[in-house]
C-alpha cells in the first residue's frame, strides 16, 4: 500500500489574541500536525482549547501570529476554492431558498444558473433531503435539515478538503447519529481530506481515522483509530477506544 501524500500541514502555528478582560491570550501555541490526503482527522478537546481557531486558520479566514498553515504545500493566506468550511450553525443565508443556498458556491465561481441549479438539486438528493425542499426557505427547516443543506452546499463545489467545526453539536442525539452515518457514507464515496472539530469523544471515535486531542492550544495526544468501518458504537473495541481517548483528554498539554 502506497503512503498517501500530505494534504494539510500546521507548522509551528501560534495564534495570539488581545482581549480587554484578559489581555494577551494564546488560542493556539506551537501547533504541529500533518494530515494525509483522504484522511479523516478529528480535533478533540474542551471548549476554548483552540480547535475552532485552527480550523479558521486552515480555511484562510484568519492568519497565524507565528508559523504557517499549508494546504498541498501552499501557504494558506486566504480562502481556497478547493477547501470547504462548515460551521456549527451552517450559516445558511436566510434570504435565499435551499436550492440557492446549496448552489451558492457554484454561483460565486461563475457557473451558469442552470448548471448551478441542477448540481444543487443533485447535492440535495445526495444528502437525502426531499426534492421539494429545494424551494423551501431556510427558516422552514429543522436543525437537522439545515445542517444537511449546509453539507450539501459544502459538497456541491467538490472540495478536496472539508473543514467542519462541530457541525452537529446543536442537534439531538438521534439526529446527530443519523447525520454522522450519512456523512460517513458520503465521505466513503468522495474521500476528501477532512479536519473535523468536535468535543464529543463518541463522535470522534465513530468518524475519525485519527484523533488529535488538544489541550490549552497544543496537540496533547495523537491517536490512530483503526476500527473497521462501519463502526458499531456498542462494540467493546469502540468503547475501549473511547476510554483511551478519555484518558488522553485528561493528560497535560506537553505530555
Amino acid at each position: 500500500m502506497t503512503a498517501l501524500r500530505e494534504m494539510i500541514r500546521f507548522q509551528s502555528v501560534s495564534r495570539r489574541f488581545w482581549t480587554e478582560a484578559r489581555g494577551e491570550v494564546w488560542a493556539v501555541r506551537d501547533f504541529n500536525i500533518r494530515c494525509a490526503e483522504e484522511e479523516w482527522s478529528c480535533l478533540l478537546g474542551p471548549s476554548g482549547c483552540g480547535k475552532t481557531t485552527l480550523l479558521r486558520l486552515a480555511a484562510g479566514l484568519d492568519q497565524p501570529t507565528e508559523g504557517h498553515v499549508l494546504v498541498e504545500d501552499v501557504q494558506v493566506t486566504r480562502p481556497r476554492m478547493d477547501v470547504a468550511f462548515l460551521s456549527q450553525e451552517g450559516d445558511l443565508l436566510p434570504w435565499r431558498n435551499v436550492r440557492d443556498n446549496v448552489g451558492l458556491g457554484l454561483e460565486i465561481r461563475g457557473f451558469p444558473q442552470a448548471e448551478c441549479r441542477q448540481r444543487a438539486r443533485e447535492a440535495i438528493r445526495r444528502v437525502r433531503l426531499p426534492e421539494e425542499t429545494a424551494r423551501s426557505r431556510v427558516d422552514e427547516l429543522s436543525g437537522g435539515m439545515r445542517q444537511r443543506v449546509a453539507v450539501a452546499r459544502a459538497l456541491c463545489v467538490n472540495p478536496r478538503v472539508l473543514l467542519m467545526d462541530e457541525p452537529f453539536a446543536r442537534l439531538d442525539e438521534l439526529t446527530r447519529h443519523q447525520l454522522q452515518e450519512e456523512l460517513m457514507d458520503l465521505w466513503l464515496t468522495d474521500r476528501q481530506t477532512v479536519l473535523f472539530v468536535t468535543h464529543s469523544i463518541e463522535e470522534a471515535v465513530f468518524l475519525a481515522d485519527r484523533i488529535i486531542v488538544m489541550n490549552a492550544g497544543m496537540a496533547a495526544v495523537d491517536l490512530r483509530v483503526t476500527l473497521p468501518r462501519p463502526r458499531d458504537r456498542f462494540s467493546s473495541d469502540f468503547v475501549r477506544m473511547m476510554r483511551q481517548v478519555r484518558e488522553a483528554l485528561s493528560q497535560p498539554a506537553n505530555a
Binding site: 479566514l61 434570504w95 460565486i108 427558516d139
Partner: protein, 279 residues
C-alpha cells in the same frame, strides 16, 4: 406582509381620513377660510384646468413638477447615501471620520439649508446651464432648480446614510465568512450578503427619507425664485385667498406621499420576506 394584508391595512387606514372629511364638512359650513369640500373636489377632478384667479399652473402640472423634483432629489440621495452608508457601516475608520459630522448634520432641519442653497446655486437649473438665456423656453428643465434639488437631497440623504450604515453594520460576520470560504471576492460579498442582509434596514431608511423629501419640497417651493410646484401653488393660493387650491394641494401632497410610501412598502415585500421569521 402579504398583498392581501397590505390591502386590509389600507382599508383600515381609510377610516381616519374619512373622519377628517366629515369634520371638514361641518367646519366649512359657516367659514370664509375653510373652503367647502365640493370646491376642493372640483379642483381635484379638474386637475388640468388653469386656476382662474391664481398665478399658478394647473394642479396636475404643479404636482408633476413637484414629483419630478422629488424624484431627482430623492434619487440623488439614494445614489450618494447608500454607498456612503455601506462604506461607513463596514469600514471602522470611515465610521470614525464621518459619524460625528453626520450626527450633527442630521439634526439640522433641511429647511434651514434653503437660504444657503439659494446663495450657492441661485436660480441655476439644468436649463440655465445648457441654454443660458434661452432657459425659460425649456419649462420642465428650468423648474429643476438646483437649489430645490439640493434641499430635497439634504433632507433625504442623512436618514438613508444612517439606516444603510446600521444595516451594513448589523450583517452577521458568519454570513460573510460563509461566502468568503466559498471563494467570494469583495464585490460578491457586497452583492450576495451585505446588500440583501441590510436591505430591510435600508428600505426603512428610504421610507423615512421619502417622507422627509416630500415634506421638504413644499417648503422649498415656497421660497423665492420658484415658479411652479405644489408648494408654490399653495403659497400663491394663500396670498390670493383661493383656499380651495391650497386645500386641494394639501390633499394631493398627502395622496402622493401615501403612494410613494406604498411603493416603497411594496418594494420591501420581497426583500424583507425572510426577516421576521428568521430564528
Amino acid at each position: 406582509m402579504t398583498l392581501r394584508r397590505f390591502g386590509f391595512t389600507l382599508t383600515r387606514g381609510a377610516w381616519l381620513p374619512l373622519a377628517v372629511l366629515a369634520l371638514w364638512h361641518f367646519a366649512s359650513a359657516d367659514s370664509v377660510i375653510v373652503p367647502p369640500i365640493g370646491a376642493v373636489l372640483d379642483v381635484l377632478i379638474h386637475p388640468f384646468r388653469d386656476p382662474p384667479t391664481l398665478d399658478s399652473m394647473p394642479l396636475a402640472r404643479s404636482a408633476g413638477i413637484s414629483v419630478v423634483r422629488v424624484f431627482f432629489g430623492f434619487g440623488l440621495a439614494i445614489v450618494t447615501g447608500v454607498p456612503l452608508g455601506l462604506w461607513i457601516g463596514r469600514i471602522q475608520w470611515a465610521s470614525d471620520v464621518f459619524s460625528p459630522s453626520l450626527g450633527a448634520a442630521m439634526v439640522i432641519s433641511p429647511v434651514a439649508w434653503i437660504p444657503v442653497t439659494i446663495l450657492v446655486f441661485g436660480l441655476a437649473s439644468p436649463a440655465t446651464v445648457l441654454y443660458a438665456d434661452e432657459a425659460w423656453r425649456h419649462g420642465l428643465l428650468d423648474q429643476l432648480r438646483f437649489a430645490i434639488i439640493a434641499v430635497i437631497w439634504m433632507g433625504a440623504f442623512f436618514p438613508i446614510v444612517l439606516n444603510t450604515a446600521a444595516g451594513a453594520r448589523g450583517v452577521r460576520e458568519a454570513h460573510i465568512e460563509a461566502v468568503r470560504v466559498l471563494g467570494a471576492n469583495p464585490w460578491q460579498v457586497l452583492f450576495k450578503v451585505i446588500l440583501p442582509s441590510a436591505a430591510p434596514t435600508i428600505l426603512t431608511g428610504l421610507r423615512v427619507a421619502g417622507g422627509i423629501a416630500w415634506r421638504v419640497i413644499v417648503a422649498a417651493e415656497i421660497f423665492p425664485g420658484t415658479r411652479g410646484g405644489l408648494g408654490y401653488m399653495i403659497a400663491t393660493a394663500h396670498t390670493q385667498a383661493s383656499y380651495e387650491y391650497a386645500f386641494a394641494g394639501i390633499v394631493v401632497i398627502g395622496m402622493i406621499g401615501l403612494a410613494l410610501d406604498g411603493c416603497l412598502r411594496l418594494l420591501a415585500l420581497p426583500v424583507c420576506r425572510w426577516q421576521p421569521r428568521e430564528r
